[in-house]
Amino acid sequence: MNREERLLSEMIRIRRVEETLADLYPSQEMRTPTHFSIGQEAVAVGVCAALRRDDVVYSGHRCHAHYLAKGGDLSGMVAELYGRETGCAHGRGGSVHLNDPEAGLIASSAILGQTMAVAVGTAMAFAMDGRDQMAVTFFGDGTVEEGIFHETLNFAVMRRTPVLFVCENNGYSTHTRLDVRQPAGVPIHARGASYGMPSRLVDGNDVFAVFDAARQAVAHCRRGAGPFFLECTTYRWREHVGPFWDYDKGYRSKAEVDSWVARCPIRRASERLIAEGSCTTDRIAAMERASQIEVDAAVAAARAAAFPAVEDLTLGTY
């Protein structure tokens, strides 16, 4: 596979995984509040493809795509959602606390903005040690309103830390539109720039555009030029938390959802590669089949795996 195909297949894999889990979710076997990234895959895939394995990524509550795109172990993720001992957090953390340090996904957290600061700290440590690794933090448009966003960007700039801030702007914080939460005329990428760091706006549903922007950002951080800010516009298809569609709930219209489904990052990438002749519908179908087999196996393994032992309830505390 060439790079373009790899970007596409990675998105397809994440989509297959999440749609499969979303279908199984109502059975109440995954007892953990889950925020699906369906529709937002291009941001995670485009950014992580520009990173090295030894670069690190921090995520928030909507962390599945980031975890998988960075190379996080699929069976560990699925088992975690099923609350099994084989989960990536041994069934202690759940959907919002995915982590796979070996793959560079250090931590995810369910409290808005927490990992923004943590990523800067890791980046600062890299710089102090003269290592050429860097850190990335993914966060949403709602997180921009938290005070820690401000403290963190200020600190990152003052210490020239090699950190990439990736704002995944899907237009909503839970059910609240961006325009009733943040001032008109102040786009998020402009806020990033207001701290004196380079900042770019990119179409977050165009995986190739995200990848190109991320490559530029990574080069900037890697050369010790300090932090970089990337705003990626995208859209959440499903409900804020949970597996269902929710355009009937009144806070957004079906037309709005449909308009974004029409801009599906996977469809767009597929159409472009097919048009360029660098990929075929058969190869894409094969990618989907392969991913489906992989996720089905992960689900089967998770369901067959043991729950943590009650005797280990306090394991890892003094």
């Binding site: 995954m30 007892r31 957090a89 202690r92 957290s109 938290e146 059910h175 032992a309 505390t317």
Partner: protein
């Protein structure tokens, strides 16, 4: 009397108080959305509209200060947090300003700000979405800290908060929202700092608040089968904390078990045990026992979660241990949230 659920009682108290007092407004993430904070703010939004029930940008610490400032100008803000865990972000405004306002500015006036924080429980809510922070709120002087365990108290304590003169934190356990009970139609206050006897008994006293008062009552049922008569006390408030009702019961039973939804160390369960050691010592016929979550964050896996939360069985077993009637309990109880279907 007319029956309501715990959630309906909160909604009714909010609506009735808002109708009485035009200075009350409700602010918080999602108070105006289709979920309306598990239905507790939906009716207020329908009745009073976006001018008095409004969504806010994220930013817990500023919102708390904003509520304080509005209160200083005569408003009565009711700020709702979908999880009390988010309130770690506004502890400076809560403790260093709201709680100290009256005292450190020379006892001129207080700031009547009311904060509702919902305590998540079960269904994999996990480490940062199912804590129960009453001990932290109770330690620092200046706040009223209420934790209703019944629909009637959910209404009455909120009415006291929205008509009182001080900053109030009300913690509501999500597992109680569907609980039904009799609730007065009128605006009756339940005063802060006065507990209630949920169920009289003679052999042992079980003290709890919020969900643990409810679970203690279920434990008392189990104990009946073991010929143990347990008196169940619902403290209702963590601050002020009703020491008298505990001591009165101890005089009768001489034995004490305390259950709490939060950890033991420096928790409300420690305070209750300390009151017994300080003021009830002469009544005590046996060691006090605390029933609390173990000393670890809330896990996600179902078997761990079930073992993490105190329940009627662990409470009843503690009572039997204190009474040296150490029969291991055969009984099984259904989890308080057994019928709950996720996502949360």
């Amino acid at each position: 009397m007319r029956r309501l659920t715990y959630g309906q009682a909160i909604s009714e108290a909010t609506v009735q108080c808002m109708a009485e007092d035009p200075n009350i407004f409700v602010a918080g993430i999602g108070v105006d959305d289709f979920k309306g904070i598990f239905g507790t703010t939906a009716e207020a939004f329908r009745r009073f509209g976006p001018g008095r029930v409004f969504d806010i940008p994220n930013g817990e610490n500023a919102m708390t200060g904003i509520a304080i400032g509005a209160a200083a100008a005569g408003k009565r803000p009711l700020v709702v947090h979908p999880r009390n865990d988010f309130m770690f972000l506004c502890m400076d405004q809560l403790f260093n300003l709201a709680a100290k306002w009256r005292y450190m500015f020379g006892n001129r006036s207080g700031v009547p700000v009311v904060f509702r924080g919902i305590v998540g429980r079960g269904w994999g809510q996990g480490a940062t979405h199912s804590q129960s922070l009453q001990a932290l709120f109770a330690h620092i002087p200046g706040l009223y800290v209420a934790l209703p365990a019944s629909p009637a108290d959910a209404k009455g304590l909120l009415v006291s908060a929205l008509t009182g003169d001080g900053p109030v934190v009300i913690l509501e356990n999500r597992a109680l929202y569907e609980l039904e009970g009799e609730v007065p139609e009128s605006l009756e206050k339940v005063p802060f700092g006065r507990g209630r006897v949920v169920r009289p008994g003679t052999d042992i006293t079980i003290v709890g608040l919020s969900l643990m008062a409810y679970e203690a009552a279920r434990a008392a049922e189990i104990l009946v089968e073991h010929n143990v008569s347990a008196e169940v006390i619902d403290l209702r408030c963590a601050r002020p904390l009703d020491a008298e009702i505990i001591l009165t019961s101890l005089r009768k039973t001489g034995r004490l078990v305390v259950a709490d939804t939060s950890w033991a160390l420096c928790g409300v369960s420690a305070e209750v045990a300390a009151i017994a050691a300080e003021k009830g010592w002469s009544h005590l016929k046996a060691p006090v026992r605390r029933v609390t979550p173990p000393d670890c964050p809330a896990p996600v896996a179902k078997p761990l979660e079930d073992a993490f939360h105190p329940n009627p069985l662990t409470i009843a077993q503690a009572c039997l241990d204190v009474l040296k009637a150490g029969v291991p309990l055969g009984a099984r109880v259904t989890d308080v949230q057994a019928t709950f279907a996720g996502p949360y």
